[in-house]
């Protein structure tokens, strides 16, 4: 059975590296670089890095910049666009909440913690579930591969987390609780 770094072929298990090296002159499309360099980086990371409790930092400071350097300009442009979009959402969310608080003009109400919470949540989502990477499986290699798979997919759990279900539930809870409280206060 082939592992993550290999493919099963009629000649047995062959590394992706070897396959790609032999195909070098055939001119791969840009898209192959994502997987190719992903494999290279994961291989290098699995070989080089000692187990580190702050694997999230490692991804941020070493692995991700390495990947970014090696990705083609089109992919990097997409990442930049995504980051700009998330930055905008973060900035606008913060502004909107501060404006709501300002307009409400309630003495003593600043909702600083609410803004922080919201902004932190956005930061959490854009870091692609680093906390889960940090606490997950025993093998460093597995952890890195698992982390990288999340990186490639931008984290299904992050997407799910950002999705509608829980936020709608939370929003409904707040609304329901607010209505209930107002009814009691009106009595």
């Amino acid at each position: 059975m082939s592992n993550f770094f290999e493919r099963q072929t009629s000649e047995g298990n062959v590394s992706h590296d070897k396959i790609l090296a032999n195909q070098k002159d055939k001119g791969f499309s840009n898209s192959d670089k994502i997987l190719y360099y992903a494999i290279k980086i994961v291989e290098a990371a699995a070989r080089s890095f000692e187990p580190d409790p702050t694997l999230g930092n490692l991804f941020d400071k070493k692995v991700v910049p390495e990947i970014r350097k090696r990705l083609d300009s089109e992919t990097n442009a997409k990442i930049n666009k995504l980051e700009a979009r998330l930055d905008r959402v973060k900035r606008e969310t913060k502004d909107k909440i501060w404006n709501l608080v300002k307009e409400a003009n309630i003495p003593g109400l600043e909702i600083g913690s609410y803004v922080e919470k919201a902004v932190n949540k956005i930061d959490y989502l854009r870091t692609m579930d680093k906390k889960k990477i940090e606490v997950e499986p025993p093998s460093l290699k597995d952890r890195i591969i698992g982390g990288f798979k999340r990186l490639i997919g931008m984290g299904n759990s992050a997407r799910r987390d950002a999705g509608n279900m829980d936020l709608l539930a939370r929003n409904n809870n707040v609304k329901a609780a607010a209505m209930g409280m107002k009814m009691k206060l009106d009595r």
Binding site: R7, L109, A162, R170
Partner: protein, 97 residues
């Protein structure tokens, strides 16, 4: 009006800590006096309104984040799928090793 119950409701509503502190402070004062004044009720209602509005802002922001991540992930998924196909094709071509 059961003031303790209203305080408990606020704690369970998922409000921000700033709002909770403020509502809690107002109710604590009212409990000492044994009565919640009209102005205090109005202020609590205002805080609740802000909470509901901010919850909606957060919900909208998270929807947009989800959409952004989905757009990007779709692009990457198709790129990775294409890369995997090319590697498979290369392996099948028999020139791999």
């Amino acid at each position: 009006m059961n003031l303790q119950q209203i305080k408990k409701d606020a704690e369970q509503a998922g409000f921000s800590s700033d709002s909770l502190n403020l509502i809690g402070g107002i109710i604590d004062e009212a409990i000492k006096r044994g009565k919640l004044e009209k102005e205090e009720i109005d202020r609590i209602c205002q805080i609740i309104d802000v909470e509901v509005k901010t919850a909606q802002v957060i919900a909208d922001a998270r929807k947009e984040i989800a959409a952004a991540l989905n757009d990007y992930a779709d692009g990457l998924d198709s790129a990775v799928a294409q890369a995997a196909k090319e590697i498979d094709d290369a392996a099948k071509s028999g020139k791999a090793g």
